[in-house]
């Protein structure tokens, strides 16, 4: 759940200072650690910190309450947890989640509050008092997002993130098409090219040639496309990117973070990850030509 920059008809204390209608007061959702165990998402010591006397008093007097809301939209999971007092450990079975999980906290009125006023309201409101209805929000922290991937078929190998398929729909279309899914990068080939690929894809002698024809341009296209996207979004939405970052770090010792992705050229990243398939393809080609010529010579 996210409140974002939603407008309220009365002052709301927001963790984002640019959206808060209080001067110095603060509201923060805090926690010690987010841990994924084998079967649980564990958020340790979830608690709120309110630097505002009025709101703290309302919570102590049971006139307001703080809720932590955890949502995984993809699995239709949405649960709330009261976090008024001491820190709470929140545990969610991992199998309830898959993909982006948002964790946020809100303080809301448990009853009608007449003449609600605070000396820390921003100037435009400090002269006014407000009648607050039950369930109306008093403080907002949109919190953070984390990611849970539940895919037992995922093996973190770069070669497994590509999927080559056959195009039948439009047999006149000779174009190779590349599309970025959440789990795989999909490469669609015209029927006859696909059939050829399917027949020879397991032959070691053609591995780097196929990599160069299919995988290399697709990965370069994918990396180029990602440059235009928000890095947080990339990490959340494209599960295959995990395999790319892991391989890049293994091969280069450098983390493929936002800066590295922006500054390094896609063709270089691709070659490093895939172990220089283009140069190796030349070697394969040489071997193929040499063997073929040798065959011709033998016949003479």
């Amino acid at each position: 759940m996210r409140i974002g920059n939603r407008l309220f008809p009365y002052p709301v204390l927001n963790n984002d200072q640019s959206l808060s209608l209080y001067n110095r007061s603060k509201f923060t959702l805090n926690y010690d650690d987010v841990k994924k165990t084998q079967d649980k998402l564990l958020i340790k010591n979830v608690h709120i910190v309110i630097e505002n006397h009025n709101l703290n008093k309302l919570i102590q007097e049971d006139k307001a309450q703080a809720l932590c809301i955890i949502e995984c939209s993809a699995t239709v999971f949405r649960e709330s947890y009261v976090i008024n007092g001491e820190g709470k450990n929140i545990e969610i079975p991992l199998h309830e989640l898959n993909g982006r999980v948002s964790v946020s906290a809100y303080v809301y009125a448990l009853e009608e509050l007449h003449d609600f006023w605070d000396s820390d309201f921003v100037d435009d409101y400090v002269e006014e008092s407000f009648d607050i209805n039950k369930y109306e929000l008093l403080a907002v922290d949109d919190g953070f997002t984390t990611k849970v991937v539940f895919d037992e078929t995922k093996d973190n190998k770069v070669s497994s993130i590509f999927l080559v398929t056959k195009k039948i729909d439009n047999d006149k279309n000779q174009e190779m098409e590349v599309s970025l899914g959440d789990r795989k990068i999909s490469i669609a080939l015209p029927e006859s090219q696909f059939d050829f690929y399917d027949k020879f894809k397991t032959q070691p002698l053609f591995q780097n040639l196929f990599f160069t024809f299919l995988i290399a341009p697709s990965l370069v296209y994918a990396l180029e496309s990602l440059k235009a996207e928000n890095f947080e979004h990339i990490l959340m939405e494209y599960n295959w990117f995990d395999s790319i970052t892991k391989a890049y770090e293994e091969k280069t010792g450098t983390e493929l973070d936002e800066d590295e992705l922006q500054n390094e050229s896609p063709i270089t990243i691709m070659q490093k990850i895939m172990d220089f398939p283009i140069t190796k393809a030349f070697d394969e080609l040489k071997t193929l030509i040499f063997n073929s010529n040798k065959g011709d010579d033998d016949e003479e």
Partner: protein, 255 residues
Amino acid sequence: MKNEIYIKYMTDELLEAIKKNPSTVSNYMDNNKIDNGWLKKIYSGKLFVEKTLKIPDFELKLSDKGDYKEVDFENSVILYESLKDLPKYVLSDERFWAWINFEKCYEVALQAMPIDGSKTRVLNHYLFGQGKRRSLFFGVMSRCFYRVALTADDNLDDKYLLSRFVIANPQRFRELSWRAFSSKTEIVRGVIWAQKKAIDEYGSLYKSFFHTQIAKFVSRLGSVKLLDAMTESYVFQQTYDFITKLVQERQEIDL
């Protein structure tokens, strides 16, 4: 005791082959309404993979008259009862629903939603062409499951009272289902109860175009208030009062 079966996922290769060739697939589906053997022509490798999780085996019903509405409620409950214990990560996986739609319940799915040459039906209603969450409520079989999952109530004598009400006219739920708040059963049930009471009370004065306005009203209700904190009875009362206002406004316009 019912036989148990292992669930399956459609393979990534077949899934991608269908996505890349929706015209060919829609043609096959229109011409093969019982037998899914044509899948082999789309992809010649492994079509489905068995997983380690089991469900009670089930068979959905077909309408003899070809009118799926006749069996919709019964099938939705069978589907819900058979799948409800599966983990949410499975129930939200495109490959799982692709197995249900293209193999396990192929014939029933096609009766529920014929393709009629539409590529977008294949992509949006048989696969997850509309994004993850939205696709669950678009999917020909997944939406039947979720209509029950979000309205079944163990506290009622008839656990499926609200599910029956929703399935009789899916518009009652559809507008809600696009919105994130519909992941909370308390909110969904509160709204559906309000619709039911209003229809019982106001009869034909309750108009179908109210459904969009009701969904917008609940969103507005959550604009400054915290929907997640609300009880089912509070949501019910607020929604019922809103519908009463709509009915009165309509009456004034009609006069």
